[in-house]
């Protein structure tokens, strides 16, 4: 993390402090306040109250937060996305890394086609992706069912309670594999030629170069990809929400923290509690992201 961009701007004393920059920065500041700061402040205020169908609204201080921290549904959702990110993110990033290394080795035909082909699902809105996979997952007449019928195999229904998290992980992996592959591939392309030459002189083989030259050089890019995948995992909503109508017994109303926040606000008349859950979820994400960053930074230094 040596060349953090804003730090390069320092140490150029000739630059005067003036207001010009602020003018350029103002539009962002405005939308930032309107789109992020104000909602968070307002929701924080709301989260200190409690709504009731009978009795209306009353001030409860941090009551909603205390409730949420002991609410088994919220905790279950958080640990589920925790599990999800612990499994799905490494699998996806690993596959993406593999694909990027293969592309970079230049040993396959139709490179361009492969690259675009793997990247294509990124253009598919997650709602559409989930709808589509929902059809495919059908264990009677969907592709899974047809496969079973044709081969006599007994693949389990992907939407049964035991498998549904994996089924969701598959949809997410499918969508973002190519995106992560391209980030890593782009980073590989920018590794200075000298590093390879040095390795070649040392007589290192292809695999060895990949392991000891390429992967270390990829650290920053791997970190970007991982960070976004972590944030994405905590946000998990669209896919389970869309699949819920196909698997009501497998995907509960509190399956992920975001689904729980949605359920609370829009089906359970608990807007203020929902605000507390949303804020807690944001806080958890930020903390996990920073912990991950800290661990990476420490790992790099060693």
């Amino acid at each position: 993390m040596s060349a953090v961009p804003w730090e390069t701007a320092r140490g150029r004393p000739r630059r005067r402090r003036d207001w010009t920059g602020l003018i350029f920065f103002t539009p962002f500041l405005l939308v930032f306040v309107m789109g992020i700061v104000a909602p968070l402040v307002y929701a924080s205020g709301l989260s200190l109250y409690r709504d009731q169908l009978i009795g209306g609204r009353s001030f409860v201080g941090l009551g909603n937060y205390l409730d949420a921290l002991t609410d088994p549904r919220f905790l279950e959702g958080v640990s589920r996305v925790g599990l999800f990110l612990a499994v799905q993110v490494p699998v996806m990033i690993g596959l993406a890394l593999l694909a990027a290394l293969i592309l970079d080795s230049g040993r396959i035909r139709a490179m361009r086609f492969m690259r675009i082909g793997v990247f294509m699902p990124y253009a598919v809105p997650s709602v559409v992706a989930a709808l589509m996979w929902g059809f495919i997952y059908g264990d009677q007449f969907g592709l899974v069912g047809q496969f079973n019928a044709a081969t006599g195999a007994a693949l389990p229904g992907p939407l049964t309670p035991d498998w549904v998290l994996i089924a969701i992980g598959n949809v997410v992996t499918w969508q973002f594999l190519g995106y992560n592959m391209l980030i890593l591939y782009a980073a590989l392309r920018s590794i200075p030629e000298e590093l390879y030459e040095a390795a070649a002189i040392d007589g290192a083989g292809e695999a060895r170069i990949a392991w000891s030259v390429k992967i270390p050089a990829l650290k920053p890019a791997l970190w970007v990809a991982t960070l976004f995948s972590i944030i994405g995992s905590f946000q998990l909503f669209n896919e389970p929400h869309v699949l819920q109508s196909l698997a009501p017994a497998s995907i509960s109303t509190y399956y992920t923290p975001n689904m729980y926040a949605y359920q609370l606000a829009f089906n359970a008349n608990q807007v203020t509690y929902s605000a507390a859950v949303a804020i807690l979820l944001g806080a958890v994400t930020v903390v996990v992201a920073y912990v991950a960053q800290w661990m990476t930074a420490r790992g790099t230094r060693r």
């Binding site: 609204r57 007449f141 109508s245 196909l246 017994a249 509190y254 829009f266 089906n267 807007v271």
Partner: protein, 444 residues
């Protein structure tokens, strides 16, 4: 006066900043005696204007066109704001934002108490429309009523019926079962004969289970003002949960979400031999499985006691005028015509609606109609009889929308991976009790 003072969701959000304007006064509850404002309605209809009507069903397009033909000065726009719970959410949001509030909306009976309690609906009593009570079936009228007011007019009902696949029954050599005991026997015969399941249960559908409990005499929800009692251990409920637990355990019925691509295929190809559903289903099945003309018949729902047959309702809805409508008089005028006028009812029935109106239910032309899709059967007779046998005394919770939304969390898994359904019901009940307490109800 007509400002929506709902305590629900985001409306309440406004209260933080506008504390002074919230929760004050009971002005809307003030008119204890119904004021006859039918003169206002007449005037509004003559003057005309624009109305917005929310419904997700397409069965009402032609009735609305008929209304507009007769009232050229009124323009009614039908808007699909989402299905069931989605629509109620959208309604709440619109009311709380004070924008794009529809004048009328289709409201399912189970949702009515919740919306009435949170003051989202106009009472028809205030407009003299409560005199129309005799036009509708008793059960539907009582389901549009809550706490002494009637919040709209009934439109359609869903007395339970049995849709069955004639070919599958013939092949197994059985007649439509008349009791649940016979139904279980039929299930075994069908299983032996073709390997088909007699039916499926949707692990996400609270309405289906509620109606079965209702039919068996269970009354798990009791409401009295702000007190509610929830008890899933009465005799009727136990009967239902044991029966279906056994059927699931014996693999005579299968757990499957309804209305999906997969499920329709099963019904179409006979791997699901029957469908336990509401009377509104005729239009849905004939419209969806268009290749199956002549394959299905309608039978009365099996009963628990052949000597005292009782039925119940699965679904059904009415139309209500929404608080915050800019022209409630005109909306009431539309509602009355739409719900009672002959040309409106004809158009609705032609589009597959099963009416809550007595005139249609007693109309010989309606009853005698032979439906080609059902092999020329006079299926409407079965429906009308079913409607007659609906048992009284059923109530929904004043937060049934929430209740139904979490059915899949607790009961669903017990249906999907067969376990004791009763256990799921108990857990559901516990959830509903603690939710009720949190919402300020007296929970028993």
């Amino acid at each position: 006066m007509r400002s929506p003072r709902t305590t629900l969701t985001a409306a309440a959000a406004g209260c933080v900043l506008l504390l002074a304007g919230c929760g004050s006064g009971d002005d809307a509850d003030a008119p204890a005696e119904s004021v006859d404002r039918s003169a206002d309605i007449e005037a509004a209809l003559e003057e005309g204007g624009d109305l917005v009507l929310w419904t997700w069903s397409t069965k009402f397009d032609r009735a609305v066109e008929a209304f507009e033909a007769e009232h050229p000065q009124v323009d009614v726009e039908i808007v699909n704001a989402g299905q069931s719970a989605d629509q109620y959410t959208a309604l709440q949001n619109a009311i709380s934002a004070g924008e794009n509030i529809p004048d009328l909306a289709m409201i399912e009976y189970f949702a009515l108490p919740q919306l009435a309690l949170s003051e989202q609906l106009e009472s028809v009593n205030d407009w003299g429309l409560d005199t129309l009570e005799e036009e509708f079936t008793a059960s539907s009228w009582s389901q549009m009523s809550y706490g002494g007011g009637t919040y709209g007019l009934p439109n359609n009902t869903g007395p339970l019926i049995l849709v069955y696949n004639q070919e599958v029954f013939d092949s197994a050599g059985i007649e439509p079962p008349t009791t649940w005991e016979e139904y279980a026997e039929a299930a075994e015969r069908i299983k032996e004969d073709s390997g088909a399941h007699i039916t499926s249960i949707d692990p996400g559908d609270a309405g289906g289970v509620n109606s079965r409990i209702w039919q068996a005499g269970g009354r798990p929800y009791q409401v009295d003002g702000e007190s509610v009692a929830i008890d899933f251990s009465d005799e009727g409920t136990l009967r239902v949960s044991e029966y279906w637990s056994d059927m699931l355990a014996d693999d005579l019925v299968v757990s499957q979400p309804g209305w999906t691509d997969e499920w329709w295929r099963g019904l179409g190809d006979g791997t699901l031999a029957t469908w336990i559903t509401g009377a509104w289903a005729l239009g849905n099945i004939s419209g969806t499985l268009t290749d199956n003309v002549g394959d299905f018949r309608i039978a009365p729902i099996p009963v628990w006691d052949a000597d005292a047959p009782e039925n119940a309702e699965n679904g059904g809805s009415g139309f209500s005028v929404i608080r915050g409508s800019e022209n409630p008089a005109l909306a009431m005028g539309f509602l009355e015509w739409f719900s009672t006028h002959e040309s409106s009812l004809e158009a609705q029935v032609a589009d597959g609606n099963f009416p809550a109106q007595n005139t249609t239910l007693q109309d010989p032309a309606y009853l005698d109609e032979e439906l080609d899709y059902f092999g020329g059967q006079q299926a409407h007779r079965v429906l009308a009889e079913a409607s007659d046998q609906v048992a009284e005394g059923w109530e929904y919770l004043p937060y049934q929308v929430y209740a139904n939304s979490v059915f899949g969390d607790s009961v669903g898994p017990r249906i999907a991976a067969p376990g004791p359904v009763q256990e799921g019901l108990e857990e559901w009940g516990a959830d509903l009790r603690s939710y009720g307490e949190r919402q300020g109800f007296d929970v028993d």
